[in-house]
Symmetry: C2
Subunit: 412 residues, 2 copies
């Protein structure tokens, strides 16, 4: 079995200043393509250590992805370290040299001999040139393939997807694939989900199940291995359907769509419009709905009614309701939903009112008390929730639950 590893270099990584996202990206893409990675290594910008790590990797792996340290500053030491590990001279790449000269010319900077250092690559290496951005290079050394890529994520991804992955797949020709599907669930705990998975016979053999909290959702991954992608995908479809039969509406969908995308599709299909009245979420529901391109077709707008005056002036919540029941009450949530529906002439009004904390709670209405209201032609529904968490967590849970209530309503 062919096996590879990923090496990231950078003092900013090893000192914890910057989180490395290149390694995770490459690992995910390689896994999907059926290529096995055994090890990640990260070291700072130290030539001798990079050389040692490269030599170790070359002694045990068939392919190696190396990111970072290819830039023009004195921190960038990957290139000379690679030359030593590969026991190759650094030579000027004429095409790269020409481009550097053109760039200098365009900026009217006079040529100096030291700029030639920017055009060096190990002898016999292939330049990986994405055009106009930082270059990488590939080397076949004995039976090992090495790919050196820039550390800037955008540049790294461009070269990885455009060259490294196709090149590796063409060479390795993996006979078996892993396919993985991530299902998104909301409104079911990880424990409940595990109970379901243990109960259904489909999940007992040949499938690897992973649970990943992805606040406020739970994501469940199903991984299968085999020779035929179509067969594997059909199996995933059956597993998805089996799960849906158990958990019902808690399964947000078999695809990668976000909750606001799902809500948007349902509104569009139904030819319906929505307006939102937000108190404790401060605008987060509207923000999420409008992250979807084309949302202006069904989202008319909203009122953020942080003050009681706004709840009365803009949403027509009667003063006596606010005085007697309080701003955080089922009555106010229902009135806010009806009010915003009328003010915006929308088919549906969605409203939230609650206490995000950390202050503002009371024994009767502790922090995390939330009411969600939904008004349509048939009247108003109101739901009561008690959430736990810090301020932004309660805001997030409230927005997510309100959008999920709307999704479930639209599906009935």
């Amino acid at each position: 079995m062919m096996q590879g590893e990923i090496i990231a270099t950078g003092t900013e990584l090893i000192t914890g200043q910057v989180a490395d996202c290149n390694t995770h990206y490459a690992a995910r893409r390689l896994f999907e393509a059926g290529l096995e990675v055994a090890r990640f290594t990260t070291v700072g910008d130290k030539g001798p250590l990079i050389r040692e790590v490269l030599e170790q990797a070359m002694s045990r792996s068939q392919f190696i992805i190396i990111t970072g340290g290819l830039g023009p500053t004195e921190d960038d030491v990957t290139l000379p370290a690679a030359a030593l590990a590969l026991d190759r001279r650094l030579v000027v790449h004429d095409g790269l040299l020409d481009r550097i000269k053109r760039c200098l010319g365009a900026r009217q900077i006079p040529w100096e001999e030291r700029y030639a250092g920017l055009a060096l690559i190990p002898e016999g290496a292939q330049l990986l040139d994405p055009g106009g951005m930082a270059c990488g290079f590939a080397v076949k050394h004995e039976e090992v393939r090495l790919y050196f890529l820039p550390g800037v994520p955008q540049e790294m991804r461009s070269l990885f997807d455009g060259f490294v992955l196709p090149n590796l797949v063409a060479w390795a020709q993996p006979e078996e694939y892993w396919v993985r599907r991530t299902l998104r669930l909301f409104g079911i705990s990880e424990g409940q989900l595990q109970g379901v998975i243990c109960r259904r016979p489909e999940f007992q053999q040949g499938v690897t199940v992973g649970y990943y909290p992805h606040f406020p959702e739970t994501h469940l991954s199903l991984t299968l291995r085999g020779k035929d992608r179509a067969v594997l995908n059909a199996s995933l479809d059956r597993l998805t359907a089996a799960l849906g039969a158990e958990v019902g509406e808690a399964l947000l969908g078999p695809e990668e769509a976000t909750l606001e995308e799902l809500v948007g599709r349902l509104l569009r299909t139904g030819g319906l419009t929505v307006a939102v009245a937000e108190s404790c979420t401060g605008g987060l529901i509207g923000d999420r709905l409008t992250n979807v391109p084309g949302s202006s077709d069904y989202f008319l707008g909203g009122v953020v009614s942080y003050s009681n005056e706004a709840k009365h002036d803009l949403l027509k919540v009667p003063p006596e309701v606010l005085a007697q029941k309080g701003a955080v009450s089922p009555e106010t949530a229902g009135d806010m939903a009806r009010g915003v529906r009328e003010v915006f002439h929308a088919d549906i009004g969605l409203a939230v009112t609650g206490i995000a904390g950390p202050s503002g709670g009371s024994p009767a209405k502790p922090v995390g008390t939330v009411y969600i209201g939904l008004a349509d032609t048939e009247g108003e529904d109101v739901w009561h929730y008690q959430f736990y968490g810090n301020r932004t967590e309660i805001k997030t849970l409230t927005a997510q639950t309100a959008l999920d209530r709307l999704r479930r309503k639209l599906k009935t």
Copy 2:
């Protein structure tokens, strides 16, 4: 110089399914404490490989942090691999055994002998018990200190901060510290910033400068090394002041405060209230303002006017302005700001209107055209911007720029 490394284990990491945040967390905390980390390694849940990596690390490092693979399922193989690498037996820890028995009893699960396997730790190791959560363990093996921690980030961080870091610092007693300060800037490009840094003599020696794009802000890190934290912090203060003298208001502040926190402080200090009228941002400005605890003291609310009707009905933008100048125009932005200020009886009205895309642009008003309006007792200011990016990037830039305009206004 004492030196350490960090090892992460988990098949979900090596296959790119989950991004490892434990390593980055530990590296950052160790760096701040003056402890040097030379290498990160990640491997899957494979016993022999974990053993090999542990043995290599023990041969060259003085301290090793290992995360993951300590749970009760068959995937969790770190413990037996550690026993082999350390050449120690696994023994039952009585305190841990008692706790497992109590937990089973509370759930009325009858005892079976196999549960004793959950109470094993290497002979001579110290149990790291955060109380009620997953445990880790620490081992001093010859001159090497090893810390095995659970992979769940919350549990890992609790044990790392509560035990590992104090334990390591007390042992290593680092004589020199690194201090690092991250400055947050907005409204200046990385290129402009580099020009400033190259020009000022303070930044030419003894300080390591790092540039980190942190969309939509640019973060600049200044790192110094020395024996006396107070002296180092005074140097950082001088460097911060020197930068501020060059870039002025583009420096958001010397502390870690977010833009919405800075705006909140200025509003609170001035005894002022604000209301927002949002079009293309959909509620994002209100969401950001209300992420700050206590924001209800100065944030009265807002209107999300995605439709022209809402701009007219709720914000009193005259129909002839909308018809003749358009919803995305300086006139509408000014009228929205004035309207929302009046509707909410606020001291300041802040408004945005623009085209977030991907559709809706025209040659005269391309995608990314944004107008920001600010109304106060003295009248209205309106600014025109042309942003570039995808839909959420344009939303983010618009909200950030509007909050920054408010911040700059409040500082004058």
